[in-house]
């Protein structure tokens, strides 16, 4: 982990090459088991600003999911508006941002026609993808999250079956717009995985969500992706997920958060980690161990704790007892015995068996393995799609 205050400001030659910061999946408004994460998100943002300054970047790329939900709360709107204003109007960075599947493209689009005057490029429409934004030596192709039908309409081609077929056509249409004297960067928000020629195992298909094979993207010099929250979800020399700047679930407890600093010429992508304001810890211990000062004093009081209890015995009022030592306990499960997941009745409403946990529990029972982060994310997305509906439209 680098310390931010040790970052030296890097001198750069004033050439035509680009250096940009690649981040994604801010999910402003996201909650972690009932806990508001705005403090963590503001802190990560502050670190991103410091890194951008220290690395002397020419632009900042945000690859979708700026908000956590289509209808963000007023607090979230105020926070994101302030962040974008700081980066673009105060710090004067050119900004390149697309809408992700969590954003409402129509809501997020507000103001975008005015933003371009200060080099804030906010793209929310499929058709935007084929008019690249050129900064220095680089053409940026900005592909917001889209529904397959939007692509079929745009290409007037109902035969396009799935995302791989669509992306083959999208990439070809973009290549048509390539200026051969420039570098070419794609900014997009989707699942990318495997290769179109490998066996079906890597071509995970869940509920019709086909991942985009990475070899369709190899015409680009760099692909700045959003959607998956762990940068390690894909290992590729120039196709990268930035991941989320904050840990958003227990399954991300061990993932390192950060941003990519990308140079176009010569090409280089450098990972710079972010330090969590309040970390997530998974403690697989007995009640006796958990209440031992040696353990609980090592955990900062504002950090989040997921407990995987090893005891089999019934312990009265356990959540309230544990909350005494771990004020931000976010989950409690038992790893031994038949009673593999319990929820205390006296938990004050903060520990819920959310759908993802139910899925995890079910998956583990069925397969004796834990779901991968990708699998969890697919289930999460699907559940959110189902939940969306029109509940906010009913009155």
């Amino acid at each position: 982990m680098i310390k931010l205050n040790e970052l030296t400001f890097e001198k750069r030659t004033g050439g035509n090459e680009m250096r940009f910061l690649h981040t994604a999946d801010w999910h402003i408004g996201k909650k972690l088991h009932g806990f508001d994460l705005l403090a963590e998100q503001k802190d990560a943002f502050c670190q991103i600003k410091q890194i951008a300054a220290a690395q002397n970047v020419d632009a900042i790329v945000i690859a979708g999911d700026l908000y956590d939900r289509a209808v963000a709360s007023e607090d979230s709107v105020a926070v994101l508006n302030k962040m974008l204003k700081e980066l673009n109007l105060e710090e004067k960075y050119p900004l390149l941002a697309i809408s992700g599947n969590h954003d409402s493209a129509i809501r997020l689009e507000t103001g975008s026609e005015w933003y371009t005057a200060t080099e804030f490029y906010l793209k929310t429409k499929f058709s935007d993808a084929f008019e690249p934004v050129t900064l220095n030596d680089t053409q940026f192709f900005m592909l917001p999250y889209f529904q397959p039908q939007m692509a079929r309409n745009y290409f007037q081609d109902e035969s396009l079956k799935n995302l791989p077929e669509i992306m083959e056509k999208v990439a070809a249409a973009m290549v048509q717009e390539f200026d051969p004297t420039k570098k070419h960067v794609l900014i997009a928000h989707f699942f990318a995985a495997g290769s179109s020629h490998t066996d079906s195992e890597t071509m995970l298909e869940v509920g019709g969500l086909n991942p985009v094979p990475v070899d369709l993207l190899e015409e680009f010099d760099y692909v700045a992706l959003g959607h998956l929250h762990d940068k390690n979800a894909l290992k590729h020399p120039f196709i990268h997920y930035a991941g989320s700047p904050v840990k958003f679930s227990i399954s991300e407890a061990e993932t390192q958060k950060g941003v990519w600093i990308v140079d176009t010429d010569p090409y280089q992508a450098k990972w710079i980690p972010l330090k969590p304001l309040n970390d997530i810890h998974v403690l697989e211990n007995s009640f006796a161990e958990l209440t031992d000062p040696k353990l609980y004093r090592a955990i900062p009081a504002d950090d989040y704790v997921a407990v995987r209890l090893t005891d089999r015995a019934v312990i009265d009022d356990i959540m309230n007892k544990l909350r005494h030592y771990y004020p931000r306990i976010i989950s409690l499960s038992r790893v031994n015995g038949r009673e593999s997941l319990i929820a205390d009745e006296n938990n004050g409403g903060q520990v819920n068996l959310d759908p993802l946990e139910l899925f995890e529990s079910f998956f583990e029972k069925m397969t004796d393995e834990k779901p991968t982060q990708l699998q969890e994310q697919i289930v999460q997305e699907s559940f959110e799609e189902l939940q969306k509906g029109d509940t906010y439209e009913t009155n």
Copy 2:
């Protein structure tokens, strides 16, 4: 009624004086008894654009309630964004807009820091009111809708009891900022009525909502108000409600919609009416009259009809029968007999006894008079406040 295509483009001398168009209460997203009014709103907007061009105005003032609700639908967001873009970025009008009580100040504020570069002044904060925007010979003081507590905080004065007291202080603070070589226009969104010295009858008080006495506003050369939907709610030489550009309720069936064209020097305010795309008709007739071609053929099929039935007899399936003649029937009441308000069970869901109708009915029973438009609006606002809650925050 003037015909728009007969409007001649008015030549103006290129002096320093201002001519602006004053409109308000667009309420984009408003529904009329279940019927979407976007078509009517788009048509009224188109007329406003034509009037602005024909009158060769220097700026357009929108005095609050751009949206009908704090969380507007995606359709409403898309429509309002397009309208504002057309006026400011395409037609190049300076725009002066404030948030009203129906708008979420925080949501509406999105982008406002970028908008000023093209003379789109969108003010949503109480503190914005004391930094006037100067265009040509005029200082515009823009006072968004606000809660009394915001004013108490701003002035650090907890003793400010009510809106009249607050507005006295607000007006005095604005006068402090007056440039004596300029004209002074206030743009605001509140109830204004009577005078602070008349008897209590005109000082209507309902639920603590005190109207602002107009004599507090007499330091200004013009006051561009929003909130009440009928320009005739207040008669004053230079303090005007623009009213809504579209008829939003049955009680507005007879009000004329339009915009003010205001000249600063010499002062003149000219009312220019808008032609309703689909009008509202209140028909107080018998069933026999209503089904007579002489009556129903005179009503365009897309117009809205509120029926006040004079029959006492029970008529089977009356709503469906009437809908045959009046496809957009929006309400049915009986004016004779004890059964003063009925709702047909087979009405297809479009005729509801909404809270305002229940209030009207109750008010009439208790007082033998119809509530005034102001009284109705107060009840409507109060009900909406109650309804707001956090329903869109629950998942």
